[in-house]
Symmetry: C2
Subunit: 588 residues, 2 copies
């Protein structure tokens, strides 16, 4: 076979007159009697090839080819007649007049067209993933993914970071999600775990004095499949020594700015805005607010605590809150039925109802309008900025339920009302997280992030007196309402780490049994350290403008895994089981 | 804490007079009464810090610090008195006069010194891996590893390759080593396998039209631990479409040349020499010859077939070969006892003995000298280039035993006699491999590489008539006698792939059961493709001048895995087992 001289998608006017050898797939063949037109595709794009009378043998072969055949074509680049120019493709000004063609491989008719916009079931796409990935939109997503990791790696390595690989077969450590377990053949009855993150290893690398570590690391969680979760996922994992929270945040911002520049050609403003966890929950009802639009939650608790509406006052009496969002000018966009649908929506988040008021020139209207009068009406108007035409939607319940339900409602309305500028990329830091969360079921504190997160120095004494109030030196990075990742400074003193384990309900023996190697390492000169981890799949999904995480993964898993044979678990042979010393205990 | 202004190892004369903030570990403290000297270490190196009368408080704190304490030091860089210059360290011309010191963290006395040359048991090093990795030689190995992957990635991405991640939780495919298996909680009784290589996925990516794929991929083999094997290892994995063997070889050479340039500052000559498998076996008795030295195997079969030495003639009569290596000038370096030791050594490789002749001015001497006379002596001298002072060592047996034993002997003598220029990096391609190997035990052919390897086009018809003679379009890259990696062109026609599976003893049903997804993909326009895979761990080991593969892996596994708690498999709880639907069946 001849050597390829050019890629299809790269041919332009400047190649006019050049003799070329192209290789690729037949996108489409049109037989116009005297001429056969073939759209030839490779990973760079499509070019039109013409077979005519000058090369009758080639024309005869071209007559036999069908879509997705693999062919090699020799020919000459010529300018198209102005009337034939196709402005929709990059090579639309030229075409290749073929002198020779070889069929390298044939193809059955593919089950779906190899085009960006195809309306097909995802199961079919996954069954024929090798065809699905031929669609330019998919190739471009993986090109973008490769470019993102390249930019991140170059940025970090230029900044003195070392990429270090940590083990995949590792020790099971509790906390977090369920581990995948791997039976050991050598150590009978024992199991390796697949890591949920390289957390412990990266901390050990800081103890080892590596100072600046990163890894683009595969992580695993044995959880049920959801649209936005994969059992194996990839994390940009970073750890540093001797750096303050501000320094880590600044470094991360410069890294993300480099990615945006390189991959999207967008200059993002740094520093990114920061918001405390409390402010994010108060204003947006979310710890990962999408700040590309308003619709903020307005706290009316003080204003309505003495109103005549029982639902509000009793919520306040029970220690709850009353909040509203003002949907500007939406007064006549929502019918009673629409609002009923919204009420069902907020019920998912635990809200017992969705009170609403339409603001008109005449004042408040709607079923609960009558409960508000005089100064309270004015105060609500002032607080919410309500004007005639606006729709006020209320939540009244425990603070967490109001946040969850109005926060979700805000996102839903933001999307549906087109309030979001989809071309915008809004980065945001959320800081000052609580260190601990109270687990009502188990009647104990759990780590809000993980047990190695460092409390604010000035809050350390609260660990003894009021642990729920302790703030963590933790920070999450949010993009367009998605949690991209998060990090923290870590505990580096053994005493403090022991105290933390103690707060989490570990006895000293348990702590040493499970984390002894870390506590032991903590006796040998541990530097202050901290880092961050970011989900690569999600970052790629956002930057590629996809809305399905699986589109960012070459061979993803699905709940109906059998549709992609390469991905399904499969029965093992009795011999294999015997070697593993395990018996399968199938449920009845 | 103050922000670090410099790294310890980077301070030079040019910093004279500068005020600096350093952070790091105490390498050594010397108390000279009026002065305390502290060698402060970070990942870049060591600098000397002096505490004197100018800062009595700092001096007091410095009095308390011990080795491996983590400290922050403020001070001023000054030139050392010429008599105090230390030429052994990069910062030896200067020192830092401390004005302040803070103890950030204390340390117990470490179990071994943090120095390049320490004579300690590897188990102890692995137990305290976080201290072992503080030794500069270890840090530098991982720096080199990071630099190697960076160079490879940049080279390939600049050459249009996409890095694509393939799954770790995948389907078990037979052939090769034992798979690690992961029980699926969702699909009861079924298991994922961890990949031994991304082979099938990278071929599917070629079917998908990605054309140029690479990945620095983690791979897994459930094998017993050996010094040169780890159950998880990293592979530079490359696949291309439409490229010839020469193009793939050329691309690989340019990539390796870039690594040598970037990491070692060495310009290597390209193209690398090539040698067929047969020539490598004939001349060096090895399919991965170290060509940095001679000591080649010389075939004397024809010359000695009629000699008087029964051992030689009977080997020839049985269809075997007689070969010799000429150890130049070693005549008097080897006592009878030495040769006995060599005889024991070759016995490991199946040799029944080691005949030898010492060449003197008077002719051949030694126990078998008497069997050779006249023209045969002259012919042996001519063939081997034997001169007075030389030692000839002979192998006479089946070709494979002679190759294995003399090949190993050659490597051993090359090292022991100092014939190898250790500063040299000798790359070599070994080509024209056999496609199939005959398995005497199972009475069937097995794939010499893997079942997707492409035969030479002109040998395809031999598949029906004389399969053992079929050559593969496969190539191994060898460096200094180590197999760095290998690759091949692949079969891309379904018919040929089916024929191959058939030769390997698969029924059509079995082939489809195990590789159906690939054979099915082969119906949809598969491009010609081929690639290469290289062991990263081994490449790093050679370039870093280490002789232990574990030194290239941050947290390796050992046969006594319990010495590194983070690495050991561990018992799981009954609850976890129940969720996995498996019972452990411990042997008595």
């Amino acid at each position: 076979m001849a050597q390829r001289t050019h890629y299809c998608g790269e041919l332009r006017e400047q190649h006019h007159g050049e003799q070329v050898v192209l290789k690729g797939w037949v996108q489409r063949r049109r037989d116009l009697g005297s001429l056969i037109f073939v759209d030839l595709r490779d990973r760079t794009g499509i070019v039109q090839v013409v077979f005519g009378d000058e090369a009758p043998e080639a024309r005869e072969i071209a007559d036999k080819i069908r879509n997705e055949y693999v062919v090699e074509i020799e020919g000459k680049v010529v300018l198209r007649d102005p009337s034939q120019v196709n402005p929709n493709i990059a090579t639309g000004n030229i075409e290749v007049v073929a002198s020779d063609i070889k069929i390298i491989n044939a193809s059955k008719t593919p089950p779906f067209a190899i085009e960006d916009y195809v309306d097909i079931n995802e199961d079919v796409r996954l069954k024929y993933r090798y065809l699905d990935l031929r669609r330019p939109v998919m190739y471009n997503t993986f090109k973008l993914r490769s470019d993102v990791t390249r930019t991140i790696r170059n940025f970090l390595q230029n900044d003195g970071f070392l990429e270090v690989e940590t083990p995949i077969l590792t020790k099971s450590t509790p906390e977090g999600a369920r581990d995948y377990l791997v039976p050991s053949r050598v150590h009978e009855g024992e199991f390796y775990a697949l890591p949920q993150s390289p957390q412990l290893f990266k901390q050990l690398l800081m103890v080892a004095g590596f100072e600046k570590y990163f890894q683009i690391a595969r992580c695993f969680r044995d959880e049920d499949l959801r649209a936005d979760r994969q059992p194996e996922f990839t994390q940009v994992d970073i750890e540093t020594s001797f750096m303050s929270m501000d320094e880590i945040i600044d470094m991360t911002e410069r890294m993300l700015a480099a990615v945006m520049k390189e991959v999207k050609g967008i200059e993002v403003q740094t520093p990114f805005p920061r918001m405390t966890y409390q402010e994010a929950m108060d204003r947006f009802g979310s710890d990962k607010p999408d700040v590309r639009f308003g619709l903020e939650l307005i706290n009316l608790t003080d204003i309505v605590k003495d109103c005549n509406f029982k639902v509000f006052t009793s919520a306040v009496e029970k220690g709850g809150v009353v909040k509203a969002i003002n949907v500007k000018g939406a007064n006549d966009k929502f019918t009673r039925k629409d609002i009923d649908a919204l009420t069902e929506f907020v019920a998912i988040y635990g809200a017992k109802g969705l009170a609403w008021i339409k603001v008109t020139e005449e004042g408040f209207t709607g079923p609960i309008a009558k409960f508000f009068e005089g100064q309270i009406v004015e105060d609500i108007k002032n607080a919410t900025g309500a004007e005639p035409g606006d729709l006020l939607l209320f939540g009244a319940d425990e603070a967490s339920i109001v946040a969850a339900s109005l926060g979700a409602l805000r996102n839903k309305l933001g999307k549906e009302l087109g309030l979001i500028d989809e071309s915008q990329f809004a980065f945001l830091w959320v800081t000052d997280w609580p260190l601990l969360e109270w687990d009502e079921e188990e009647k104990r504190y759990t780590a809000a992030h993980h047990p190695f997160t460092r409390p604010f120095d000035e809050d350390i004494e609260l660990m003894d007196t009021d642990p729920g109030k302790v703030r963590a030196q933790a920070y999450d990075i949010v993009l367009n309402g998605y949690e991209l990742g998060g990090g923290s400074l870590r505990i580096y003193e053994r005493d403090l780490q022991e105290k933390m384990f103690n707060l989490l309900g570990f006895t000293k023996e348990q702590a040493y049994e499970q984390f002894g190697f870390l506590l032991e390492a903590f006796e040998y000169g541990v530097p202050p350290h901290g880092g961050i981890a970011m989900g690569l799949d999600r970052l790629v999904m956002i930057l590629a403008g996809r809305n399905n995480l699986r589109d960012t993964i070459a061979f993803p898993k699905t709940a109906t895994a059998s549709c992609l044979l390469t991905e399904a678990p499969s029965p093992v042979t009795p011999k294999q089981l015997k070697e593993l010393h395990i018996k399968v205990d199938l449920p009845e």
